[in-house]
Symmetry: C2
Subunit: 441 residues, 2 copies
C-alpha cells in the first residue's frame, strides 16, 4: 500500500470559527454535554480518522464574554469517550509546568489502559501569565526554564511508564504471586526539577508509552519536538512555509538518533466545505459576518502583547514592536500574514477568525482533497490536523465528503488496520529502556 | 417516608478480601479491564445504591507481590463510568498534599458536568512516605501540616467552584454574549499554602459543589470531617464503638454552624453472604484458607510501623510500643481488637483479611439486614460503605439478596427519586457564597 496520510480531528465545543457558536447550525447548549462529544467522536470513528484531540489551558479563557474554548477538562472527557468509542485515538493536552510527572504518567497510563491503547499526550509548557497566577506564581516562568522542566518532566514520565515490565503482572493464583516484583523497579530519579522514586502504581501502558504530541513551533519548540515528539501539530499558512517547517523538523531528528519516519507532522486546516466554490465562500462569509470585532481585537491584542483595541478596523496593523517570548512562532505567523497580504485589521481578524492562525480553506471537497494531496505528496505534511469550522456539522461534512475523496485517491485508509493509536500512526511500540538496561547488565 | 439509609459500593479490583483474586469466583485478568468496572457500576445501579467509591494512594501498593489494590486511576475510571451509567454517584479519592487546588477543582467540576451532577471527592492527606518520595520529598509532611494544607486546599476549591454564578453562561447568540462576565469573578486567594487568582475555567458544577467525603478517624480527622465533610466513611468493629463515633462526629457540627443532618456517617461492612449461617461461615473460611501469611504479616507490620514478620503466627501480638502519627485511628482499632478478643497473630490476620480493619460479617441476608438495621435505627450509622469480599459476585449477591430485604423493611429506596449524588444522600445544593457576598454588599 502506498504511503497513507493521517487525520486528527481537533475538537472544540462549537467548532473552530470564533463565531461558530452563533451560527444556526450549532447548538451551544448541547455543546456543553457529554452527548455532543460522544457524537463527534463516533463521527470521527465512522470516518476512520486516526485520533481526536483537545487543546487546553489552565486558566479561564480571557475572552469568555464572547466565546468559550473549552468546557470539560480533557483527561476526564477523553476517559468518558474511551468508554463510548472503539477505535479512535484520544489525545489530551496537559502542561508540564503546572503538573507533577507522577500524576500525569499515571493518568495517561490509566487512559491508555481504559481505551485499550488509544491515549496520546499533547505536551505544553503553559506560556500564559493567567495560568501562572492559578498556581502560586506572580509571573510566568521563562521560556527556557519551562522547556528545561518539560524535558526533565518527559524523561521522568517515560521512566515511570517503564518501571513495570510488560509481563510483570503474573496473576498466579496457585502460588499467590500477583506481580513479579523483580520486574517492577523504582526509578530513583534525582534531577534538577524533580525527585521521583517510583515505581508507578499502574502497569506499563498498552502502547508502552502513550503517543507524545507537541505543537510548539518556536526554535526551542522545534528542537523539543525533534527530541521527544512523535506527532507535531503546527500552524502553516502556505505550502512553502509548511514545507520549510517539515524539512526543518525532520532534519533535526538524526542528532537524536531518530529517523524522519519517527515523527508525523500534521499542519492544521479548517476546511469550509461547499458543493461549489461559490457556496463554500458564501458559507465562510456567513460565519465571518457573525464575528464580534471586540472579540477579535481582544484576541489579537493578547497575541501581539500590544493593545490595538483603539485602532481603526479599516486601517493597517500598527507596528507592534519586537516579539516577547511565549507564543513566538504564532505571533510571527500573524504579523507575516498581515504584512505579506497587506491586510487591514478587519481583514486580518477575518483571516484569524477561522483558525487562530491555522490555515482556513474554503472550497469543494475535490479542491480540499487537492490541497491536502499537494501538501502530503509535496513533502509538507504527513497528515492533517482537521479543525472543523462548526461542530458537529463541519466534521460530518468532512467525513462524508472529503474523506471518501481522499480514499478514492488511495491516500487514506478504508478501515482501521490496527487497534492502538500508535498503530494508526504507523509508529513502533517503544521498548522498555529500563528492562533493556537490566538485561544488558 | 421514614428515614432511609444510604448505601455506597466501595470498589476494589477483585473485592475486599485480600485473597479475593485467588478465589475461583473472581477473574483477576478481567478485573484489569474497563468492562469489569462497567458491570459492577451497573449492578450497583440496578440495586439503586447511592454511589460507588474508589480508594487511592499515589504510590505503588507495597505488597503488590501478593495483591493489587488498584489498577486504573480513579478520576479517569469514574469519568469512563460516567459515560456508561445514568444514576449512581461516583466518588473518587484525591490527595490534598500532592495536588494543586486548581486542577482538582476543575477535574471534579468536569466529572460533575460529565455525569450530570454525580461527582464526589473523598479528601485524603496521603500519610505514606512512599507517596512523599514520588513528589520531590524525602519524608512525609507531618499530620498537622497535612491537615492545615487540606483545610486551605478545600477552601480554595470551594471558592473556585463558586467563581462562576450558576447562570453566568448566557449563550446569547443574538448579542454575541457567551458569558456574563459580571457573574464570573476571580477569587484572589492569598493564603499560607496557596496563591490562586481564578476564576475556574469551567462552569459551576451541576451540584454546586461535588459531594465532599472524608475518611480519617483520628482526632484531627474527625474535626476536619465536622467542618468540611458531607459523608464520612469509617471503620468500626462493634456497635458500641460505631455509636460513640457517630455521636462524637455529629456532636462536633454545631460549632461550625452545621446541623447533624448535614453529614452522613457510613461505617464499612464486608458482608459474606450465605443461604445459611453455616454456608456463610464456610465461604469465609474458604477465602481465609487462601490467605498468604507473608502478605498479612507485611501489611500488619506496615500498619503497626513495627516489624512482626519474624513472630510466631500462633503466638500473641507483641507489644508494639506507642503509636506513630499517620493512620492512628486504624492502628488503635487493630491493637484493640487483638487485645479485646485475645487473638493470636494468625487469628488477627484472618480478621483483617476481609476488610483491613473494617467489619466483616458472615451470615444470611436476613441476619445481615438485621445488623444494618440495628446500627441504622440505633444511631450508629446513616448508611453503610459496602465492601464486597469478592467482585463482581459479592456485589451481585448483596444487590440481589440483601437490598430487597432492606427494601421490604422500608429502609431503602425502591427507585431513584433524584438525579444527583447530593439528592441521593438527601443533602442540599450549596449556595454560591461568592454570589451571596456580592449581593449582600
Amino acid at each position: 500500500m502506498s504511503r497513507q496520510l493521517h487525520l486528527n480531528a481537533f475538537v472544540m465545543p462549537n467548532g473552530h470559527h470564533e463565531a461558530a457558536w452563533r451560527h444556526p447550525s450549532t447548538d451551544p447548549r448541547r455543546a456543553r454535554t457529554l452527548r455532543h462529544y460522544v457524537d463527534i467522536a463516533r463521527t470521527a470513528e465512522r470516518g476512520m480518522l486516526d485520533s481526536l484531540f483537545l487543546a487546553d489551558g489552565v486558566a479561564l479563557w480571557s475572552n469568555v464574554k464572547h466565546n468559550s474554548h473549552s468546557h470539560f477538562e480533557p483527561l476526564t472527557l477523553l476517559s468518558a469517550l474511551a468508554a463510548t468509542t472503539d477505535h479512535i485515538g484520544l489525545i489530551a493536552t496537559a502542561s508540564t509546568t503546572y503538573n507533577e510527572p507522577y500524576h500525569l504518567a499515571r493518568k495517561f497510563a490509566s487512559l491508555d489502559h481504559l481505551s485499550g491503547g488509544r491515549a496520546g499526550w499533547n505536551i505544553v509548557t503553559s506560556a500564559g501569565v493567567d495560568e501562572a497566577r492559578n498556581f502560586n506564581l506572580g509571573t510566568r516562568p521563562g521560556h527556557e526554564l519551562r522547556y528545561a522542566r518539560a524535558t526533565e518532566f518527559v524523561d521522568v514520565v517515560k521512566k515511570l511508564w517503564d518501571s513495570w515490565d510488560d509481563d510483570a503482572a503474573v496473576l498466579d493464583r496457585a502460588s499467590g504471586i500477583y506481580a513479579d516484583t523483580d520486574r517492577i523497579r523504582p526509578i530513583e530519579h534525582e534531577g534538577e526539577h524533580f525527585r521521583v522514586r517510583g515505581p508507578l502504581n499502574i502497569e506499563r501502558p498498552v502502547q508502552g508509552h502513550p503517543l507524545l504530541v507537541q505543537a510548539g513551533s518556536s526554535e526551542t519548540g522545534k528542537e523539543y519536538a525533534a527530541r521527544h515528539a512523535e506527532a507535531v501539530f503546527t500552524a502553516q499558512q502556505t505550502f512553502a512555509e509548511g514545507k520549510a517547517f517539515y524539512d526543518d523538523v525532520k532534519g533535526r531528528l538524526a542528532k537524536y538518533g531518530r529517523s524522519p519516519d519517527e515523527i508525523k507532522i500534521l499542519p492544521g486546516i479548517s476546511p469550509i466545505i461547499g458543493r461549489t466554490t461559490a457556496e463554500a465562500r458564501a458559507r465562510e462569509a456567513e460565519l465571518n459576518a457573525l464575528i464580534t470585532p471586540e472579540y477579535g481585537l481582544h484576541q489579537l491584542s493578547k497575541l501581539l502583547d500590544h493593545d490595538i483595541t483603539g485602532c481603526p478596523l479599516d486601517g493597517p496593523l500598527p507596528d507592534v514592536g519586537s516579539f516577547t517570548e511565549g507564543a513566538q512562532s504564532r505571533l510571527a505567523l500573524v504579523v507575516g500574514l498581515a504584512r505579506r497580504e497587506n491586510l487591514t485589521i478587519r481583514q486580518l481578524l477575518e483571516r484569524l477568525a477561522g483558525g487562530r492562525g491555522h490555515r482556513v480553506f474554503a472550497g469543494t471537497p475535490v479542491r480540499i482533497a487537492d490541497e491536502l494531496e499537494q501538501w502530503f505528496t509535496g513533502g509538507a505534511a504527513d497528515g492533517f490536523n482537521v479543525m472543523p469550522p462548526t461542530l458537529p456539522g463541519g466534521l460530518d461534512e468532512f467525513v462524508d465528503l472529503v474523506v471518501p475523496e481522499l480514499r478514492r485517491r488511495g491516500l487514506f485508509r478504508a478501515e482501521y488496520t490496527g487497534t492502538t493509536l500508535r498503530e494508526h500512526y504507523g509508529l513502533a511500540r517503544p521498548v522498555n529502556r529500563n528492562r533493556v538496561k537490566e538485561h544488558a547488565a
